[in-house]
Amino acid sequence: MSENASNPYKIYTTTWIALLIITVAMLAAEKFHMPRWFLVLFLLAFMMVKAIMIGGNFMHLRYEHSRIAFMVFVGILVTSLILFAFLTPEAASVLAKTPR
């Protein structure tokens, strides 16, 4: 593990500060009256950044063998995409039949 030898705890405080700043930015984003699609994209992008920071720095995934990171990211991502890909057209067909 190649963590900072002088202060091995520094990575946790810097990650914590970064996570808090991102969270505040996400909360403040809706005040700026940006287009909905941009706001959604902004929130999803920063959600992923936060997830990567927690996985990489807090869970030490960046120091593990790349096969573990591969198993985690690909396993979760592929399954979620398959689920999403099957559910979205189903939702669209339900929506089309629903009177509004």
Partner: protein, 214 residues
């Protein structure tokens, strides 16, 4: 299988070599985390489906919840994760007293989070939310929330809350055993992985359920 194939497979899988370059405990913990993440992935996809097919517009969460309060819960959980990371590194460096103290701080963070969640649940139940929808004539019913809204809320935060409770049990056992000198550094690391996972899941719930605009 040819002889050369057998030799090549033996060289990698014949024992003594780990394909993940990690202990079996850590490898199994990661496999468990992946399977648990798939549970939440399915729950979040189901929530997305329910939200998409909702016959009435999804309510603005700011009308139902106090977002600053939810932000405080997020702050508490992120902070507890920082303490847990510190505990894992302290244990690895052999400073078990510091490890135990930081695990205790993590437990306090988890308890505050659970307390906040209990308050939030009691508040929304008081407003008329039930697992199958809003009670007729209740405050939530006046807001016109679809029945999928309280169902999604209770399922997502309920499953997450149950993970917080099990995480706290693991952390209390870890802190007690660390005080007695019975927990190896790897034990603290395994507890930490689980706790960070609980934090990770909250990042998704916080964004997708509370922040995403209707």
């Amino acid at each position: 299988m040819s002889a050369s194939h057998a030799v090549s497979a033996d060289a990698h899988w014949g024992g003594g070599v780990s394909p993940f370059a990690a202990s079996w405990q850590k490898t199994m913990m990661w496999i468990f985390i992946v399977t648990d993440a798939l549970l939440f992935s399915a729950l979040l996809c189901g929530y997305g489906y329910l939200r998409m097919i909702s016959p009435v517009p999804w309510p603005e969460t700011t009308e139902v919840f106090s977002i600053p309060f939810i932000a405080f819960m997020t702050f508490v959980l992120i902070t507890s994760s920082m303490f847990m990371g510190t505990a894992v590194t302290a244990a690895r460096l052999g400073d078990m007293k510091k490890a135990r103290n930081n695990v205790v701080l993590t437990i306090l963070g988890g308890l505050v989070f659970l307390g906040c969640q209990a308050y939030e649940w009691s508040h929304i139940i008081h407003e008329g939310a039930r697992l199958t929808g809003a009670l007729p004539g209740s405050e939530l019913a006046h807001l016109g929330v679809p029945p999928q809204f309280p169902s999604s809320f209770f399922l997502l935060t309920g499953f997450h809350g149950s993970h917080v409770i099990s995480g706290l049990v693991i952390l209390i056992i870890t802190a007690t055993r660390t005080s007695m000198g019975k927990t190896p550094p790897q034990g603290v690391e395994m507890a930490g992985l689980y706790w960070h996972f609980v934090d990770l899941v909250w990042v998704f719930i916080f964004t997708l359920f509370y922040l995403l605009p209707s």
